[in-house]
C-alpha cells in the first residue's frame, strides 16, 4: 500500500474521495505529509527533516492511521457522513467527550452503528471525528457518537508539554 492509499483509504471511511498527487504524499517515520512542489524539491536535497508541508496524520502503535485536523479539513468538503452538533455538545466534544443524541442538530450520510462520521459545529467547522455508537435514526437519547479524535488535542498536547518543562 502506498502512502497515498493509506490517506485516501481513510477518507473513504467518511464517503469522501480524495485524489492526492502520488509523489507529493510522503512518509517520514510513522508520519504522513503532503508537500508542495517547492517543498518536495527542497526535502529531496536534504532528507532528515522532522516536519514538512501539511501534516496528514500518523500510524499509531496499533497500526491504525490517526488523521490530523488538516486532513479532516481536506476531507470535510467531500465527506458524506457528517453530523452537526449544538454549542454545548461541540464544547464537550473538543474536551474529549462523546456526543449524545440530544446535542445533534443534523445528521447527513450514514447514521448506522459502526459508521465513521465527521463532527461539525454550527459554523460548519470540523471539530474532529467519531464512530456512531448506536443507530441514530431510531435513537431517542443518550450516547450517539464515540469521540475518536477532536481538535482539543492541541490543548492537551500543549498542557502535557508545559508539564514536562
Amino acid at each position: 500500500m502506498t502512502e497515498r492509499d493509506v490517506v485516501e483509504g481513510f477518507a473513504r471511511l467518511f464517503g469522501a474521495e480524495l485524489f492526492l498527487n502520488k509523489g507529493f504524499v510522503v512518509r517520514n517515520g510513522n508520519s504522513y505529509f503532503l508537500l508542495s512542489q517547492k517543498l518536495r524539491s527542497l526535502t529531496e536535497k536534504r532528507g532528515d527533516w522532522l516536519y514538512a508541508g501539511t501534516y496528514l496524520g500518523k500510524i499509531g502503535r496499533n497500526g491504525v492511521f490517526h488523521p490530523s485536523p488538516s486532513l479532516l479539513l481536506l476531507i470535510a468538503g467531500k465527506a458524506k457522513n457528517r453530523i452537526t452538533v449544538d454549542d454545548k455538545a461541540a464544547w464537550l466534544f473538543i474536551c474529549g467527550r462523546d456526543i449524545f443524541k440530544e446535542g445533534i442538530l443534523k445528521i447527513e450520510g450514514s447514521g448506522r452503528k459502526g459508521a465513521y462520521t465527521l463532527v461539525f459545529n454550527r459554523n460548519g467547522e470540523c471539530l474532529g471525528y467519531g464512530r456512531i455508537a448506536r443507530n441514530l435514526e431510531k435513537l431517542k437519547g443518550g450516547l450517539a457518537v464515540k469521540n475518536l479524535f477532536d481538535i482539543g488535542d492541541f490543548l492537551r498536547r500543549e498542557r502535557s508539554a508545559a508539564k514536562e518543562i
Binding site: L34, S36, K38, L39, L42, T43, K45, R46, D48, W49, L50, Y51, A52, G53, T54, Y55, S68, P69, S70, L73, A90, W91, I94, N121, E125, L127, I151, G152, F154, L155, R157, E158, A161, E164, I165
Partner: protein, 293 residues
Amino acid sequence: MFGKKFFVNRYRLLGWDFRDVTPRQAIRVNRMNVDGFDVVGRLRDLGVELEKVPFLENGYWVVRSDFSVGATVEYLLGYYSIQEAAAQIPATLFTDLKGKIVLDACAAPGGKTVQLADLMENTGAIVALDVNKRRLEALTNQLERCRVKNTVVYQLDARQASRLGLRFDRILLDVPCSGNFATDRDWFRHRTLNDVKRNAKLQRQILAEAAKVLRSNGEIVYATCSLEPEENELNIDWAVKNLGLETVDIDCYGDEAPTDVFGLKLDESVSRCRRIWPGETQGFFVCKLRKRR
C-alpha cells in the same frame, strides 16, 4: 557586573528611565485561515474585549477575557495566535515575501514562523531550524494548528545553516538572547554581564552564518528581546563592519537605536535599527540588513 542597579544605570545611559511594567497580552489574526469572516467579531461575541494594536496590521491587545484566549475553538482552528505585540514586528519588516525561500534560523516555538507563512500566504517555502527537540515539538504543533503548508523543519543549529546547501531570499534571525525583565520577573537576580557577552558571541556566529547563506539581493531581519546593547547595536555594528552587510531603513514602532553606547562610537547606520523599551510591549530590538551593493 550584575544586579538591578547595574543594569538600570545602563538603561539610563542609553536614554531610558527604568519603570516596572507588565506587557499586555496580544493576539495576531492568521489571515490565511479567516478569509471571508470576522474572527475578531466572533471573539467579541464570546466576551473577549479586544483593542487594535495601532502599530500592527493584524495585532490586537486582549483587554479583558473571562477565560484563556488559548482555549477557544477559534484558537484551536488556527484563526489566531497568541503573540506578544513587539514580537509581531520582525516578520512584517521583510519586503515582498510571497513565493520566496525564507530561513527562520531560530524558529521554535514557532510564533514568527506561522506569521511568516501567513504573510507569504502559504506560498514559497520556509526552512525552520532549531536545536532543541522539545521546542521543536512546540513549533510543529503550532504549524499544524495554524494549517501552515509551506514549511520544512530541521533539527539543526543556526550556526550550521550552510550544511543545508541552500541560499535564501529572506532570513529571520530571532536569535537566542538574554531576554528582559518585563517578561522575566527574576531577570535582574539571575543575569550578569557575562551572560550577555556569551549570548552576544553566539549571536555573532549566527549572523555570520546567515550572511553566508543569504542571496545577493536578500534581506536579513535580526531581532532580540534583550535590552543589552552588546546583543543589539554592538552586534549590528560588528556585522556592518565585518560581514559585508548594511542596515536598511525600517518604518516601525520603536526608537531610533543609539550610536553612542557607553562612550563607544558605532557606525552611524546603526541608528536605522529600532529599540523598543518595555511599556505596553516587552523590550525588543529589530534591525533589517542586506548585502552591501
